[in-house]
Subunit: 370 residues, 4 copies
C-alpha cells in the first residue's frame, strides 16, 4: 500500500523560490490533531520571510501562520477552552503562537506573555524538518497544547481568512488604544491591519474615523469597513492632511491614532495629528524599517501624549477577534479581503502578487485540491 503523502509549499531560504515538497503523513502523538486547511494566509510577513528579514528563522520553513480548516484526525481526546471535545470534521483555526512558557518573568510577573522568550510561531519559527507546522500545506500538524478554536457557525471561512492575522493584531491595537464611545480615531495605513482596526474601532463605538492610506481602492474598502473619511497619502501634502484632520476634530486632532503602516515616517505625523493628552498606538512597525526623527518636546512632552507600542497578540486577542467577526461579520466586508485566492501550486505567485502590492492580501485555497 502506498503511504499517504501530503504536499506543502516550502521556502528553502531567503531568496529561494517557494516550491512544493511532499511529506509523509505524520504519526500523531497523544493530544495532537491533523487539520486540512481550507484557507491559509499570505501576508506581508511572508514577504519579509522570503527576503530573510526576520532573525533566527530555521529555513526551510512551511509558511502560513494563520489558517482555517477541518480537523481530519485526532489522537485521543482534545478539548477547546470551554472543555468541549473536538471531532473530525470540525471547522477550526488555531493560535499560531505556541509554547508560551508560563514560567518566566514575562509570563509570571510582568504578565506580558507576548514577550515570553520561549514562544514559537507556526509558519515562522518552525523548520519544515520539524513537521507540517505551517498553513501552506495539505495538512497542518496541531501539536498537543496548540490553542484551537472552533469557528462559530455565524462566521464564514471567507470572513475569517479575510481578517486573517491582521484581525487579532488590530483587535489588540484597538483594545490597547482603549477606544471608547465618540472617540475621534485616525488610522494610519490601509493594509490588512489598518482595515481591521477601522472595523473594530467602529464596533467599539468610535465617533469620526479617518484613514490615511493608499491606493484608492483600499480607501474605498476602508469606508466599507467603517471609516467616515479617507485621505489619500499619495495625493496630499502633510499640511493638507493636518488641515483636514484639524477641521474634522474641532481643531484639536484625534483622540486616538493607530499607526499601521510599516513606515517610520508615519510616526511624527501621527503624533502631531493626535490631540493633546491623546493616545498613539504603534502597531505597524513589526519589522525594523529604520529610524525616524521625532521632536520629543512638541510631539510627546508638551502634548502629554500616551504612546503605546503594541506587540503581537495572545489568545485573548485571537479569541476576541473571532467573537467580534462572528457577531459583526455580516455587516463588515472582511470577506472582500479574501477575494484573491490561489491554489497551493501557485503559492509563489501569490507571494509575488502580495510583494508587488497587486493585491492587498492573498489566500491559499488548499482543500479541494484540483
Amino acid at each position: 500500500m502506498t503511504p499517504v503523502r501530503y504536499r506543502a509549499a516550502v521556502m528553502e531560504g531567503p531568496g529561494t523560490p517557494v516550491a512544493l515538497t511532499e511529506y509523509d503523513a505524520p504519526t500523531l502523538e497523544p493530544g495532537a490533531m491533523l487539520m486540512e486547511p481550507l484557507f491559509a494566509e499570505v501576508c506581508g510577513t511572508d514577504v519579509h520571510l522570503s527576503h530573510g528579514r526576520l532573525a533566527g528563522v530555521p529555513y526551510p520553513i512551511i509558511p502560513g501562520h494563520v489558517s482555517i480548516g477541518r480537523i481530519m484526525e485526532i489522537s485521543g481526546s482534545v478539548t477547546d477552552m470551554e472543555g468541549n471535545a473536538f471531532s473530525p470534521g470540525d471547522m477550526v483555526t488555531f493560535l499560531d503562537v505556541h509554547e508560551t512558557c508560563g514560567n518566566c518573568y514575562y509570563c509570571l510577573v510582568a504578565k506580558a506573555a507576548t514577550r515570553c522568550p520561549s514562544r514559537k510561531v507556526y509558519g515562522i519559527t518552525y523548520s519544515s524538518c520539524d513537521g507540517l507546522l505551517g498553513g501552506w500545506s495539505e495538512r497542518v500538524y496541531l501539536k498537543p497544547g496548540v490553542k484551537t478554536i472552533r469557528i462559530p457557525e455565524k462566521l464564514s471561512p471567507e470572513t475569517f481568512i479575510g481578517g486573517g492575522c491582521g484581525a487579532p493584531t488590530a483587535f489588540h491595537a484597538v483594545q490597547r488604544a482603549g477606544i471608547r464611545m465618540n472617540d475621534a480615531v485616525l488610522v494610519q495605513g490601509s493594509g490588512p491591519v489598518g482595515l481591521s482596526a477601522v472595523a473594530f474601532a467602529r464596533i467599539s463605538g468610535a465617533g469620526t474615523i479617518i484613514v490615511i492610506g493608499a491606493p484608492a481602492d483600499r480607501l474605498t474598502l476602508a469606508k466599507a469597513m467603517g471609516a467616515d473619511e479617507t485621505i489619500s497619502l499619495t495625493a496630499t501634502t502633510a499640511e493638507e492632511r493636518t488641515r483636514r484632520i484639524r477641521d474634522m476634530t474641532g481643531g484639536r486632532g484625534t483622540d486616538v491614532t493607530i499607526e499601521a503602516t510599516g513606515n517610520p515616517a508615519a510616526i511624527p505625523e501621527g503624533m502631531t495629528l493626535t490631540r493633546d493628552q491623546g493616545t498613539y498606538v504603534i502597531v505597524g512597525q513589526y519589522t525594523d524599517c529604520g529610524n525616524v526623527e521625532i521632536n520629543p518636546h512638541t510631539m510627546i512632552n508638551r502634548k502629554h501624549l500616551d504612546v503605546r507600542g503594541c506587540w503581537g497578540s495572545d489568545y485573548s486577542h485571537f479569541h476576541g477577534a473571532v467573537q467580534a467577526m462572528a457577531r459583526h461579520g455580516a455587516g463588515v466586508p472582511w470577506h472582500r479581503l479574501a477575494a484573491w485566492q490561489y491554489p497551493l501550486e501557485l503559492a509563489a505567485e501569490a507571494l509575488a502578487d502580495v510583494e508587488a502590492q497587486r493585491v492587498p492580501k492573498a489566500v491559499i485555497r488548499v482543500a479541494g485540491r484540483p
Copy 2:
C-alpha cells in the same frame, strides 16, 4: 506721607540684565492677598526666559514661579481648599498656574486641565505692568482664586523651596509612571526634577533606583535622596551604561524610566534601557531642544513600551508634593538644594550661576532685607 513701595527684580526682555525696580503697593481687590516671600526660586526655566526661548512671554516680567512666604494682607475672607480662612502671618505657597478656565474641551471633556489654553503662570505669562505677579519681589500679589496652600508645620521652608518647582513636576511624573512596590526605576538626569523623582520613587516603594547624571556632587546628592546606584553620564559609554543597568535588572532593563534631562539624546537610550512592556515617562523636554532619532521597531513596537509625556502639574500634584515633603522631608535632604541663597539685589548673579551650572539651583531670599 510717603507711599509704600516694593522692589522687584525685573527681566526687561530677552538678553537684558535683570534689574531692581520699585512699584507702588497695590490696592487689593476683594479676595486678593499680599504675600511677602521668604524664598523664591531661580530655575532653569528662568534661564530660558532670559534668552527669550519661551513663546508669548509679555516682557517685562517679574520671574519666580514658585515661592514661599507669609501673608501680609488679606482683602476680605480667603479660605484654603479645606475652607479654613487665612490670617496675616500664615506661611503659605501658591500654585503658579492660574485661571484654568473650567469651561473648555480640555477642562471639561478631556479632563486635561494642564492643557487648558486659558491658563496663566505666575512669573512667566504675566507682565510686570499687570502687577507683582512673580516671586522675585518684596511682595507677591495673590489674585482672587489663586490656589494657596498653608505650609504644614512639619515642613520647613528650606525643604519646600529646595524641592521648588521640581517637586510637583516630579510628583506628577512618578504618579504618571505608576511606580509600585519593587519596581526597578531609572531616572535620567540629576537636576532638580530628577532628584525629586528619586525621592518620590523611593517613597512609593520602588526597588532598585538608578540615576544616570552628572556632575559627581549631584550623583552624591542623588544617593542621599534615595538612589541605590548612580552612573556618571560623562565618565561612561552608552555600552557601559547598558551593561550596568542590565546587570542590576536581571538582564531585562528597568520597569520604569523617568527622563528628566532636557536633552533629546537621552530618549533613545532611555527607551532601550527600559524592559519590555515597561513604562517610559518623558518629563524633561519642557522646552524645545530639538529632534532626535528613534527606532520605532526596536524601541517601542517590539518592546510593547508605554511612553508617557508628562506636562506641567495641577493642584493635585502641588498639594501632593507638599504633603509628601511634609511627611518625609526629615529623611530626604531636599533642603540641601536650598543651600545657595541670594538676596534680591543679587538676582542677576543667581541667574548667572544657575546658567553656568555653578549651582544646581539658586534661591532668592527676600524676607529680612539686609
Copy 3:
C-alpha cells in the same frame, strides 16, 4: 404696557399638588440667557420630590432638571465649550448640575466633581423664589456659567428628550463599567436608565446583552434598544433567571452587570449573576430604598468582583450622551420614550402617570402653548 409674565408648574411642597403659577419676566444679568423649553422631562426623581424623599430641597420648586428648547434672549455674549457664540433661536440643552466649585478637595485633589458639596441642580436644589430654574416652565433662566450645549443638527428633540436624564446617567454607567467589545452584559431594570444603558452598551460593542425587567412592553422596547434577550422579572424565579443567564454565558455569568432598578433586592442577585472577576455597577440606587443583605464571601471576595458605585454625571457624560445620540439616534428608538407628551397645564397628570407607572416616562411639551 402689561409686563410679560411666564407660567410655570410649581411643586409647593411634599404632598401638595403641582399647580401653575405666573412669574414676571426676569431681567438678565450679564452672561445669562433665557430659554423657551420645547420639552421638559418628568422622571422618577420628580416623583420622589413630590413626596419629599430628597433631603434639603427648598420648596417651592419648579421641577424639570433636563429640558431642550430655543434660546430667546441673551445678555451679552455667551459661548459654548468650543468658543462659538450662541444666538437667539439656537436649539440647546444645558447641564442641570451647576456651580461645581473648582476649589474644594473633591474638585481639585480627588477629581470627583460629582461629589463637590457646592453643586446645585436645576429643578431640584433651587427654590422658585430664586427664579425660573426648572424646566416645567415657559422660560428657563440660564445663569451665567450654566454649561449649555448646542443640539447637533442630526439629533432630533424627541430623541434627546426620550433619552432625557437617563441618557447621561447611563452613559456614565457604561463608561464606569468599562464595557469593551464582546463583553456579555446584564442590565437589571428596564426603566429609562436601563434602556439607555442597553443602547450605549450595544454602541460600545458589547456581545450578548440581557435585560431583566418588567413590564412586557418595556422588555420589547429593550430589544429595540439593542438587547439580545430579555427576562421578565415578574414571570420568573431567581433560579430560572440564574439558569438562563448561565446558559447564555458559558456557565460563568456576565462580564459586566449594570444595576438600574432602584430596588435593593436586585443587588445580591446581580452580584451572583456576574462572572468571577467581572464588574458590577450600581447606578440605580439614587435614593435610599433601604438595606439589603449580601454575602461578602460568595458575592465579592471569592468572586474577586469589582463593584462600582456610579453617582450623577458631569459635563463629559452629558456631552458624550448628546454626541452618541446624535450619531446613533437614527438606529436606536430613544424617541419612543418621548411618546407621552403633556402640555404644561397637565404637569400634575404627567407626574401621576409616571408615579402609577402608566407610562415609562412623561414629557412636558412647553413651546407652542395651545
Copy 4:
C-alpha cells in the same frame, strides 16, 4: 537497610486531632525536588480545615500551605524563574497554588488565574495519600512545575515565615487597592493579613495609616509595622470610631480601606469610613462567615465607591512579597509574628493555640528535629 521514613502531622478529617504519621521517602519523578522545611505556618485556614469548613478537601491531609526550607534532593535539573538551577542546600519557598491550567477561559481570556478551576493548593487540596504535599512534614515533595523561589540573602527565614501566607495576600490587596503616595489608609483587622497590609501600605508611601483591631498587643504590633494610629475595636463604639477617623481625614474618611477581619459586620462600617470616590478592598472574607446588611444608596451609589474583592494570590504577588520583605524586612518587624514556634510533635497544640487566639500565629519548626 532500613528505608528512610519521614514524619508528618496529619489531619485525618474534620474534628479529628492532628497526629504524626510516618511515610516512606518518595521517589522523585523528573523535575521534582524534596525540601526539608525549616518553618511551616499554622494559620486561620488550618483552623477552618480542622472543622471541615472548606468544601472539597480530600482528608486525610498534611496541612501547611506556606513553608520555607532547604532543598535536599533534586531529580534532574530544576531552575527558578530567572533560569538559574537549584542546588541541594538552597533555602527556598514555593507557591502553594499549583496546576493553574493555562488553558481555560479564566487563564486565557479573563486573565484571572486565581479563579482557574484546575488550581490545586499544597496543604489544602491534596490528600496525604498523594504524597508529602503539605508543610507540616519533615519533607515536602515539590512536584515538577511547582513555582519555587530562592530566598534572597537579605531575607531571614523568621521574617519570611512571620509574613507567612498573610504577606502575599496583603501584597495583593495593597496592589488591588492601588495605594499611592499620601493616601489615608484604614486597615480593618490586626491579624496576619492586616498587619502585613499596614507594612505594604507604609512601603507604598501611604499617608496616615489607621488600624481598627484587637487585642491591645496586636495594635502595638500594628504601630511597629507602620500604623500611625490604632483604634481598639472592643473599647470603642462605632460612633467613636467614625468620629476619630473623620477627625484624622479632614472630615472625609480614608482614601482606601482594606477589610482584613473575617467578620461580615466590618463591611458596612468600612464602606462608611471610606471617603466618597474612595476604594474599599474586601480581602478578609476568605471563608463564608455569613451575610451582612448594607445600604447600597448611602454606602456605594451616592459615595461613588469602588469595592474590590481580592481573592487569593498568584506568583506575582508571592514574588513581590518576597522582594519587598527582603528589601524592607530590617525595618518592619515581621519576625515578631514568628515568635511562637512549635516542634512538629506539637502541631496539635499549635493549632489549638491559634484557634483560641492565644497567639496571633504559630510556626512549626521542622528542621533540627530534637
